[in-house]
């Protein structure tokens, strides 16, 4: 009986760790800078998390089928570049480009399944393709996002600042799509035991292609939101998203293999990763040191995650 309780305890710890890390960071920020505890303060602190949330959801789709996407950063950059160049002038062509990009993602998924290729290799290769396309579109940083997009991203949402609304929306969307829906169950099943899924008659090629297409869709959304915030783009605007999105998924309770992912945790993880950067600014850490310190925070949280997983195995 007590072992069952210990197991439950560890499980609760597993689930609340991302929220715990986020609240700790928030508390620390508010303690250093009480004025941040306002509509504008929170907006400023977490604004950059909005595109990252969707990029992390894209990464989460891929991790849910036990693959890894090393191209999501360049892909978001490409979507942002399309948003800053084609979208204002030739919207139909821009839409076509987005559709083609998502289709390319789906094709990559189908290829990975049918040819049994390692996803890391395929997506690493694709990352250079995305970067190349972005450089072709936008050789120097610049461009201009369409007005409707910039004003939508600057919209003053009622009651709560936009990042909070977006986080709630992204978490709910992810939860319904991956945790609650039958399709999501199938996706996680594919990550857990592909043979079992194939043996009950599902086409793994179509399934994996669908997962990758959804990831591409989330990537396009992330790129559009990013370019709406910054109003201009550059081909490397989101390259760090690749690794940060993986960190967000793992921080949120996902695992690299076995189809274990948590959409709510992923969104919280994306918020935490963004806040860690802001927190260091508030601590007046020199920008030179910030990246290293961010890494340190990540190591601490992921270390905790590993320790909890170990407890789980023992319990």
């Amino acid at each position: 009986m007590s072992s069952l309780q210990a197991k439950r305890g560890v499980l609760v710890l597993h689930n609340i760790l991302p929220a715990l890390a986020l609240s700790l960071l928030l508390a620390a920020v508010f303690w250093r800078q009480p004025r941040a505890m306002s509509y504008f303060g929170v907006n400023l602190l977490l604004n950059l998390a909005i595109p990252l949330m969707f990029a992390s959801l894209a990464q989460m789709m891929i991790l849910a089928v036990s693959d890894l996407d090393l191209s999501i950063g360049p892909f978001v950059s490409l979507a942002a570049s399309i948003g800053a160049t084609l979208l204002p002038t030739r919207p139909a062509l821009a839409m076509l480009a987005f559709v083609a990009a998502v289709a390319a993602y789906a094709l990559a998924g189908a290829l990975i399944e049918s040819r049994r290729l390692p996803s890391i290799v395929v997506t690493l290769g694709l990352s250079f393709v995305w970067l190349g396309c972005a450089v072709l579109l936008l050789p120097t940083p610049g461009g201009l996002a369409p007005d409707w997009l910039s004003s939508a991203m600057a919209y003053r949402t009622p009651w709560l600042p936009m990042p909070i609304w977006m986080a709630l929306f992204a978490a709910a969307l992810g939860h319904v799509l991956v945790t609650r829906s039958a399709f999501g169950t199938l996706v996680r099943g594919l990550g857990g035991n592909p043979t079992a899924v194939a043996r009950v008659g599902w086409s793994l090629v179509r399934l994996r292609a669908g997962v990758y297409a959804l990831a591409g869709l989330f990537g396009v959304l992330a790129g559009l939101m990013l370019v709406g915030q910054t109003t201009s783009a550059d081909p490397n605007i989101a390259s760090r998203y690749t690794l940060v999105s993986i960190a967000a998924v793992i921080l949120g309770g996902g695992k690299f293999v076995g189809g274990y992912v948590s959409p709510v945790g992923t969104v919280v993880g994306a918020l935490t990763m963004t806040l860690a950067a802001s927190f260091l600014t508030f601590l007046e850490v020199a920008p030179d040191w910030q990246v290293g310190m961010q890494g340190l925070i990540l190591i601490v949280v992921l270390g905790l995650r590993a320790a909890i997983d170990r407890l789980e195995r023992i319990a």
């Binding site: 039958a182 169950t185 199938l186 996680r188 099943g189 990550g191 857990g192 035991n193 043979t195 079992a196 899924v197 194939a198 043996r199 009950v200 008659g201 599902w202 076995g258 189809g259 274990y260």
Partner: protein
Amino acid sequence: MINSIPEMLFEARDTAKAFAAVQALRGVDFQVRRGECVGLVGHNGAGKSTLMNVLSGTLAADRGELHFAGLAVGSGWDVREAQRLGVRSVYQELSLCANLSLAENMRIAQPQFKGWNWRLAAGAQLMATLDRIFPGHGLHADQVVGELSIGRRQMVEIARAFTPGALALEVMILDEPTSSLDNQAAAQLLAYIREFVALGKSCILISHKLREIFTVTDRIVVMRDGQVVESVLTEQTSRDRVVAAMGQDEQVQENPRHVVAQTGSAEAPLVVNVSSTSAARLGVKAMAGEVIGLAGLAGHGQTTLLLRLQAGSATRAESSVWVGGATSFVAGDRQTDGVFGLWSIARNMSVGWFSQLCHRRLIDLKGEREYAEHWRQRLGLVTPDLDLPIFSLSGGNQQKVLFARALGSSASIILMDDPMRGVDVGTKRDVYALIAEEARRGRTFVWYTTEFDELFHCDRVYVFNNGEVAGELSRAELSEERVLDMSFDKIAA
């Protein structure tokens, strides 16, 4: 629609299937009638699981016809089509997603649960079937499969397959369904199978437990070497007759029975000694220069023993295992534990020899080359160049490389984990000769094999059953019947 044989439900005619060099099915005819339970028995590698995979649509046969309810089903036979017509299967390796709950696993198998509350509906249906087959199972629909014991998982998988749904359920194929069930659950399942066929449904039961086969089935089909060798009504046969049919000796060109005993000298030093944990059971001993065979059904502890010996020579991990010398391992599952896929043929051999080939912590490249060349000639390896990638070789030649890796090392004890799986006859003959030669030089072989004829190359044979040694046979005492008897006895008891 003309139904010439009304009671015939599912029929395979002249079905053949080969995996590379291995002919798993050589023209099998197999029938299931409506309301009949057919027991399918045979040795490991007799083709039972392959036949089942063809019937359930997970494997496409190379040749042959399938007929369902009197109609020929063409080349479009796949899992989907099989399920649409009502053919369902429970596989030997469990096919549940460990990261999903019971209800979610149910949904994956049967997509008819729709709407917001599909989870509840799917869970309730699965629970209802579990209650019917395994009353008192103690499972909940929202439990995650990964947290269940293997026996419970098997119960869930069986219940999932038996749960009626939008799709028909006409034939149930069960491959070793009781292998991880305890006695009570196994009895519950067998009772349920009788109820199931009494409703006019059909069942194909694959099992090594002959007692189960004789309790449940109406007809017994015996397979051997990819062929059906006997099909007889259960009431008209006996256990002895079935065992004899399973083990009928194929006429081998060179009967290995006549291999001259090379060693057996009692004064040779003891090199392996494994004492049994329980006094009732036998331990395992091996002298220098002996070839020891490990027999019995697959997965009954033979590989575990080899791994214990391997661990025992590196460190004295267990007090009950004593190994007097270095060991080298020949893997049977080449792709998983054998070859380094990106390395050359020569490197795949020499990776086992580094202790001899190293000179001041660096590899002696010239020595490596000469030694590899030596083994290439000794084994008759068919390749133009040893620097080619390992996958340029055929399966049999890859296996020869693994033998070279082990035999070229300085280890005095060679552990072999069913190394002839999927190897052609020519390679086998070469390797048997090599083993005999090396044994004469004082090397010890511990050889797990699933091929009965190979046991005649051993000086002594230990028969395994449920992780323990069930009996010991010298070469003179060896017969297939005695091995089968020892393998089955304790299970049946």
